[in-house]
Amino acid sequence: MATIFPSNEWLKDLSIKLNNDTKYAQIARNWEGDICVVIEPSGPLTEQLIYYLDLWHGKCRKTEILKDLSSVKPKFVLTATYDNISHIMLGELDPMTAMMTRKLQVHGSMAYMMGNVPTVLDFVRCAREVTTEVLS
């Protein structure tokens, strides 16, 4: 069954993937921190979407779809347009490249982020592996 990004099912599948992927569990074993992914409208996406993921020691403890950021204080907020983030999900855009070329905004502790590059990249691998289609 197709898992379309972005969708409630996609977020649910990502959570299951993160909690069952042994490689991610190993690489992210020391990661402590929640993230919000803010998807700004562009292309076929007409409204802002905010996904919340509580990531802790190689597991995903909670996911939620938020209306705004007022109820949470995540360790990181990642913001990108739908077009750019869908390119990342399809493997057409490297997440580090996106960060360096202003296609993905990152707010949070850069020390923590750069010290955990393998975890970040493996998180993206998991997200890509559950993405079978993107909104069009």
Binding site: D94, M99, M100, A111, Y112, G115
Partner: protein
């Protein structure tokens, strides 16, 4: 632009030099204009240490304007390390302060009878006795001279004992620890008995369109302040790339012979931020503030190491002690030595000792064990003083290797030690190192960022895989041209500013109506002129190569198994450049195209 002040240290003559307007237009300033100005003087028979050898300190049209990361200047001449074109650029406040004096440059020739320093107070220049300050380290020298001139806000550019003693990788430092480190121009200053130059100005920097520049500058700085890379550089310093570089196998270890080192995580920018970081420092008007201030066990605040120093005295020597790296970096700064070349040359000594090529009879009795930083400290002392094994270390890795019959093991190109961005992880750096006009240099093109994805479409650059081959040759050439523009302006490569913004700033500062291709054309012209200078100094196609170690694959790590196809890449590069593939020289047609027909006879006799 403002005049350049020419100073002859032999005669004491001082004169203003007005740059012809067409040169100002064609070369903009900085290293590009320096190449045009010095072209007639840089001949094959010129000894870099003779009195006639020029030392040209030059700003660019954006230096000191408080634009985005433009508080920089360049120093140029003939390198005693490479025998080729020398340029080194430096941040801090010294360059802007020179412009505030009403001069865009200082052009030094001659040799003083005894040690001197220059004191430029607005437009008044004094050649002062420097006997008392000779022998002091760069930090002491700055303090001493500031006290002696007695004017608040004076900035001092100085050499240390390494420059006085002719160490071939001696640099000049200002504003505590900002360094013009590469190509040995500190030793050229030392050969002239020139210890330092103090500057203090009160004048306003002229702008061609003063009504347009301030809003552009403000918008550019605001945008830069919000940029991701700015946040990373601000929070972690230039060592922000360390963790990712290690992940990709781009950070050399064990003198470029190992792809992994367990202790890497202990010496990264993120570790520094979480442990010893006590503050940040910035160059003139820079919103990034990549400089580190750290506090070690003695409680004193001091300069923290940047990426190159961390790798040079860290993983390069299998050392994971960040405090020790900080102290070794400070030792180099105080002596006035380039940390890339110092660590690179010592790395070669360790490698040769490990292989049994040299032994304790050669090393002044020292045992060189990987990871032993106490010995590194001793070697730095010996190098700066040129004592014992230090006499050979002071000549850089090429000559050190040659002395011990192992020149091929030296990781250098044309006499300049390779910076710590491994071309086995970023193949674009293979071309950058092989063709840089000053030897293996990452500041002529920090192409590793392009290989990581920072391929700017407005420069008509495409993105290729970081280990792609000859298809990226044109990309590399365009990026070199773009960075040549930065080295003319003089703008910091850490400023992730849009191309359109740079074009607009240049137009308003210089009164031009250029587009990006015009600007790139200026960069290409200067790149080719530097190539011609080097051709005239004896550089041939055979000089465009990588050292042996970089053509052997790593057995492990993130770039294991790969070596860049340098021969194919060079062939494609010569075509992309419009250079003759047989000789590697710019063709007469290319020279005409760039308005450089006047040099044709010098290399095509």
């Amino acid at each position: 632009m403002q005049p350049i002040l020419k100073v002859n240290l032999t005669t004491g003559d001082i004169a203003e030099y007005i740059v012809p307007p067409e040169w100002e237009r064609d070369y903009l300033g900085g290293a590009s204009l320096a190449a045009r100005l010095l072209y007639p003087l840089l001949t094959g028979d010129l000894d870099p240490f003779c009195p006639e050898s020029p030392l040209l300190f030059l700003n660019g049209p954006l230096s000191g304007t408080a634009g985005p990361s433009v508080g920089r200047f360049v120093v140029c001449g003939k390198s005693p390390a490479t025998g080729l074109w020398a340029e080194s650029n430096c941040g801090g406040f010294w360059g802007p302060e020179l412009r505030f004096c009403g001069y865009d440059g200082l052009w030094i020739t001659g040799k003083a009878e005894k040690p001197v320093y220059l004191w430029l107070n607005d437009s008044h220049l004094e050649i002062r006795d420097g006997t008392e300050v000779w022998g002091k380290d760069t930090y002491e020298s700055q303090t001493y001279i500031k006290d002696e001139v007695g004017i608040s806000g004076a900035h001092v550019l100085t050499i240390g004992p390494a420059g006085e003693n002719g160490v071939l990788f001696a640099g000049l430092l200002c504003d505590h620890g900002r360094a013009a480190g590469r190509t040995g121009l500190g030793a050229v200053a030392g050969s002239k008995n020139l210890k330092a130059i103090a500057v203090k100005g009160t004048k306003k920097i002229p702008l061609a369109r003063p009504e347009l520049f301030p809003p552009l500058r403000s918008a550019a700085n605001h945008a830069l302040k919000e940029d991701n890379l700015t946040h990373v550089f601000h929070d972690l310093g230039t060592a922000c790339v360390a963790d990712y570089a290690d992940y990709l196998g781009a950070m050399p270890k064990k003198y470029f012979h190992s792809g992994v080192f367990e202790g890497v995580g202990k010496v990264s920018g993120s570790t520094m931020a979480e442990t010893i970081l006590a503050g940040v420092s910035a160059c003139h008007a820079c919103v990034i503030a990549c400089g580190r201030v750290v506090r070690l066990e003695d409680g004193e605040k001091r300069k923290g190491p940047e990426y190159e120093t961390i790798v040079s005295f860290g993983p390069n020597l299998l050392n994971d002690d960040l405090a020790a790296i900080t102290r070794l970096g400070e030792l180099c700064d105080r002596y006035g030595m380039d940390t890339i070349s110092a660590g690179g040359t010592i790395g070669l000594a360790y490698y040769l000792f490990d292989r049994g090529v040299i032994n304790i009879k050669d090393t002044s009795g020292l045992i060189l064990h990987w990871g032993d930083v106490k010995t590194v400290e001793q070697l730095l002392h010996l190098t700066a003083r040129r004592e014992g094994i230090g006499e050979y270390l002071a000549q850089g890795s090429r000559l050190f290797g040659r002395h011990f019959g192992a020149e091929q093991e030296a990781v250098q190109v044309n006499g300049l030690e390779v910076a710590y961005h491994d071309p086995r992880a970023y193949s674009g750096m293979a071309l950058v190192y092989a063709t840089s006009p000053r030897g293996a240099c990452h500041n002529q093109s920090d192409y590793f960022y392009v290989d990581l994805g920072q391929a700017d479409s407005s420069l008509r650059m495409e993105f290729y895989n970081r280990q792609a081959g000859s298809e990226k040759a044109l990309n590399v050439a365009r990026h070199q041209d773009w960075r040549t523009v930065f080295n003319a302006l003089v703008m910091c490569t850490f400023a992730n500013v849009s191309v359109d913004t740079v074009v607009a700033l240049v137009n308003s500062a210089c009164g031009l109506d250029w587009n990006v291709e015009d600007l790139l054309g200026s960069g290409e012209r200067a790149w080719n002129l530097k190539r011609v200078i080097n051709n005239r100094l004896g550089l041939t196609r055979a000089n465009d190569k990588l050292p042996k170690a970089l053509l052997e694959p790593y057995q492990d790590g993130g770039s294991a198994g790969y070596v860049p196809p340098i021969d194919e890449m060079l062939k494609a590069y010569y075509i992309a450049r419009g250079w003759d593939p047989e000789t590697g020289k710019p063709t007469p047609k290319k020279l005409v195209e760039l308005g450089l027909e006047w040099v044709t006879q010098d290399i095509w006799k």
